[in-house]
């Protein structure tokens, strides 16, 4: 009996090779990607490198997401195969096989295909593991030291655990649906009479509402923090909107076209419009899925590529100097002082440089106060929290009625920009740091009256102030700066820390020497601080080189995850397209044979087919393009929180072009299968 099962199963597989090969390929690719992710998690060399801490987190996240995606994709392929093969199983049943025999045949078939999937997946994983880990090192800009794992047994074990689990689920699912079916149903071909679809008005209106809301959010939100908060709401709205509109909206449009008689009764329109109307009912969900997966891939790649490619730009903007040390205002015994005066800091720096034989090329001190105010008429009143102090609370500062004002002296402004602006006691230079349009000629605050004498166009603080809330810059002279400081101290007490100080330095020398200097400086400052009885806040000290490395590790991990996820989504898209071409091919074969008999020539038929499937398969790409365009608006605001680079539009464009090319390739490969079936 076992021999019989195996023979029947092999026969069944051979006959349906066209259906099984794509399933095996996509299954194997998913397996390989999962194996690679597990191996990366377990690789000693990688984990002990500087990127190890990010790798674990991101691969863990990736494994979770890809497990879910694999479950969905494998179930989709399985259901498709089941539908195609039900007739065959029905025939076995009529010929005298019991359902339990058919279940056994199915088991053998599944074991064969899944074993092939797992074996080839493991092989692919082994082959590409080295490439994947070298890619990671490359993205991290790290040198590979030590040996990579060649084969990870535990990675294989966990991957198999997940996949065998998914396969078992599909098998149980198939058995249940087989047992539930009646023989006549098994035999019934899938081509029963299809009603002409009715327009589902509720779904249509819901779809419009969802898509409208999603697009409205995406296009109108201005503030980065709101963008971050509403992004996922917009995404969910657009996903629902897309599904609903593909189902109801497409039918609405096609019906409208059909009603327009002068348009409809033309050879090139009649066949494709009615064909698509008929097809949309079955395919709306599939096409919507393609559109959403494609949008996902586009957004994922565009953002991660931008973040990664923009690192050098971003670092250049945020850290124009080699190293930064924070100084803190310190209050003790009713006296405010700083950790170090400017002269003391220079002395420490020069001493350290001297001992290492390095030269300081630039040095500067930047002091600023960032205070939240609420505007009442033309007077700025300090924004207070419930306990009566100044509120520096993040949520509070990002409130729309709060204006967050950063004060710097004209001296600091000179240090930052090299530009001298002479300011009198009641004068200020003004700059907008965020998108808010407030621009006063004259303001009152803390008993002072300040007149705007100068408007600064370029943000001199681009490095440190994120565009959160409504941020503005007031440049004032030292006397005014100190007066504001004193007023606030008097009002809110001496232990309120207001001034943030930071000194920066540029050093001539190799990166390693700078590292050494940086460490020496941190030590020295700490010791000097201890000696003075203040605890120096050296933990906020930053070095450009280190910051850059950190960004490469973080954004490199993100990009790598983005690439893997995109690959998975892409295989899902390809699989759906392929299976659609096959089902439609079989559906249409009959139809086109009839048309030939009624008097349509072969070239005419081919032309109709082409325009029809072209429309059906390029609508999702078009929709993905439009979605991405809308998402660009909201994403560019979120990206402003993450990076200062301006290459997002460029990256989105390039990603879209490359994606379209690959999509077209997949389409033309699968279209060939369709034409083979039809003719």
């Amino acid at each position: 009996m076992i021999k019989f099962y195996i023979r029947t199963a092999l026969n069944g597989l051979k006959k349906n090779l066209k259906l099984y090969v794509p399933q095996i390929i996509s299954s194997a690719v998913l397996f390989a990607i999962m194996y690679i992710m597990f191996s990366l998690c377990f690789d000693e060399t990688l984990n002990h490198s500087r990127g190890g801490r990010y790798l674990g987190i991101f691969m863990g996240l990736g494994i979770t997401v890809i497990s879910i995606l694999s479950l969905v994709i494998i179930f989709y392929a399985n259901n498709f195969l089941m539908r195609q093969r039900k007739r065959e199983y029905g025939l076995y049943h009529v010929l005298g096989l019991e359902k339990k025999h058919i279940i056994n045949i199915m088991l053998v078939e599944n074991i064969i295909t899944h074993t092939i999937s797992i074996l080839s997946g493991a092989l692919l994983g082994l082959l590409f593991y080295r490439l994947a880990s070298l890619t990671i090192f490359n993205l991290y800009k790290l040198e590979l030291t030590g040996n990579l794992t060649i084969f990870s047994f535990s990675a294989l074990f966990f991957t198999m655990l997940i996949f065998v689990g998914i396969y078992a689920l599909t098998y149980i699912f198939n058995c249940i649906s087989l047992i539930k079916l009646k023989t006549t149903e098994l035999l019934l071909s899938s081509s029963y009479g299809e009603k002409e679809p009715k327009i589902k008005w509720i779904v249509f209106i819901l779809g419009l509402a969802f898509l409208g809301t999603g697009y409205f959010l995406a296009l109108t939100i201005e503030k980065p923090m709101e963008a971050l908060a509403f992004f996922f709401v917009a995404v969910i709205c657009v996903i629902f909107g897309t599904y609903f509109l593909f189902t109801a909206g497409s039918i609405f449009i096609l019906k409208a076209l059909k009603k327009k008689k002068s348009f409809y009764y033309k050879p090139e329109h009649m066949i494709s419009v009615s064909g698509m109307l008929y097809r949309m009912k079955q395919n709306a969900a599939g096409l919507a899925s393609i559109a959403i997966l494609a949008t996902g891939v586009l957004i994922m790649l565009a953002t991660t590529v931008t973040l990664y490619r923009g690192i050098d730009d971003d670092i250049e903007n945020k850290f124009p100097h080699d190293m930064y040390f924070n100084l803190r205002e310190w209050s003790d015994n009713n006296r405010t002082s700083r950790d170090f005066t400017e002269d003391e800091a220079i002395a420490v720096l020069k001493e350290a440089c001297g001992s290492l034989g390095l030269k300081v090329t630039a040095f500067g001190l930047k002091e600023s106060m960032e205070i939240p105010f609420i505007l009442q008429d033309d007077t700025l009143v300090t924004a207070e929290s419930d306990d009566g102090g100044i509120s520096f609370n993040y949520n509070f500062v990002s409130r729309s009625d709060v204006k967050s004002i950063t004060f710097i002296t004209d001296k600091t402004y000179y240090v930052l920009t090299g530009e001298q602006i002479g300011l009198n006691d009641n004068e200020m230079a003004f700059a907008k740091l965020s998108s808010d349009n407030w621009s006063p000629e004259k303001v009152k605050l803390l008993g002072l009256e300040l007149n705007k004498t100068y408007t600064i166009k370029k943000n001199p603080l681009s490095s440190s102030v994120a565009e959160v809330g409504n941020c503005f810059l007031f440049v004032v002279n030292s006397d005014t700066f100190n007066r504001i400081h004193m007023e606030l101290k008097n009002k809110y007490g001496n232990d309120t820390i207001l001034i943030r100080g930071e000194f920066f330095a540029d050093i001539e020398g190799e990166e390693e020497q700078k590292m050494q200097l940086f460490e020496t400086l941190c030590d020295n400052l700490y010791q000097k601080g201890e000696a003075k009885g203040v605890s120096c806040n050296i933990y906020n000290s930053k070095m450009r080189w280190e910051e850059r490395e950190e960004e490469y590790l973080l954004n490199g991990s993100l990009l790598f995850l983005g690439i893997l996820l995109s690959m998975v989504c892409f295989f899902a898209t390809a699989l759906i397209i392929y299976y659609k071409q096959i089902t439609e091919g079989y559906d249409d074969r009959n139809r086109f044979q009839i048309m030939e008999k009624v008097g349509l020539s072969k070239p005419e038929i081919k032309k109709t087919i082409k325009s029809q499937i072209l429309m059906v398969f390029f609508i999702p790409l078009l929709v993905a393009g439009i979605h991405t365009l809308a998402a660009y608006s909201i994403l560019s605001k979120i990206m402003a929180l993450l990076t200062t680079t301006n290459i997002f539009l460029l990256c989105t464009g390039i990603v879209f072009v490359i994606f379209s090319l690959i999509y077209i390739t997949i389409y033309s490969i699968t279209a060939r299968t369709y034409f083979k079936i039809v003719s």
């Binding site: 008689k261 050879p267 009615s274 064909g275 008929y278 009839i594 008097g599 020539s601």
Partner: protein, 251 residues
């Protein structure tokens, strides 16, 4: 005046490697006059379907000629064939061959649309035919929503709407129950009375007995033919049965 002339028609099928050859049609000669209703009968394998395919210009003969209204089918170029078929021939098939994506109305209009008939003329052409065939009420329905008989009448409407020189019917009653068969045959008679030339291939004596003339095909040749003359359907039915009996005995 004859609208169709078939002369010395021969069709030989050879396998791809040129090994065995099958003579489907040996030497077929006959002609059909304008307005005639001719049935072709024969057993399975007698070459009926091959003949019909050649007449329908779906297949080309090995030798011999088919002349439709003075035009030799072999002179029609391959790329003009579809348009030629659309213009000159109408088809009714055993399995209806209606498109499930079209309503009955659109199915009937399809050949006109393919010939780019202006939209304004469509209704004028459709209405009289639809009411003559008794399908005016189901025009907006879809093929799966109507009965087999109604489907076949829709197919007949589609076949005659272009005003073809020749209506070819391949076992038109083969998939119908007896009641639908009767009404379908009446429909054919009615179409014929309006001047439409019909050539029908059939197994069914009943169907053939409605025709004006019956050709019997055997082993790829026209073996015998019967004219209705003055006989009514029943009498003609008996004559055909007798002829068939002789046909079987002699083989």
């Amino acid at each position: 005046m004859s609208i169709l002339e078939v002369k010395k028609l021969q069709k030989i099928y050879t396998t791809r490697l040129g090994g065995n050859s099958v003579r489907a049609l040996e030497n077929v000669n006959f002609s059909v006059d304008q307005g005639e209703y001719v049935a072709i009968m024969g057993e399975s394998g007698s070459g009926k379907t091959t003949l019909l395919n050649i007449l329908a210009a779906l297949d080309r003969p090995t030798s011999g000629s088919v002349i439709l209204d003075g035009m030799d089918l072999s002179s029609v170029k391959e790329n003009e064939m579809a348009a030629f078929r659309r213009k000159n021939l109408g088809f009714v098939f055993q399995e209806f061959n209606l498109l499930d994506t079209f309503s009955i109305k659109d199915n009937i209009l399809l050949p006109l649309v393919l010939s780019r008939v202006p939209v304004s003329e469509l209704k004028d052409k459709l209405d009289p035919i639809a009411s003559a065939l008794g399908i005016s009420d189901i025009l907006e329905k879809y093929p799966y929503e109507v009965s087999g008989g109604q489907k076949q009448r829709a197919a007949a409407a589609r076949a005659v709407i272009t005003g073809p020189k020749l209506l070819l019917a391949d076992e038109p009653t083969g998939a119908l129950d007896s009641k639908s068969t009767d009404s379908m045959l009446e429909t054919f008679e009615q179409i014929n009375k309006n001047g439409q030339t019909i050539l029908m291939v059939t197994h069914s004596v009943k169907a053939a007995s409605h025709a004006g003339r019956v050709l019997f095909i055997k082993d790829g040749e026209v073996y015998h033919q019967l004219y209705r003359g003055d006989s009514d359907n029943e009498e003609f039915y008996r004559k055909i049965t007798e002829a068939l009996t002789v046909l079987v005995k002699n083989s």
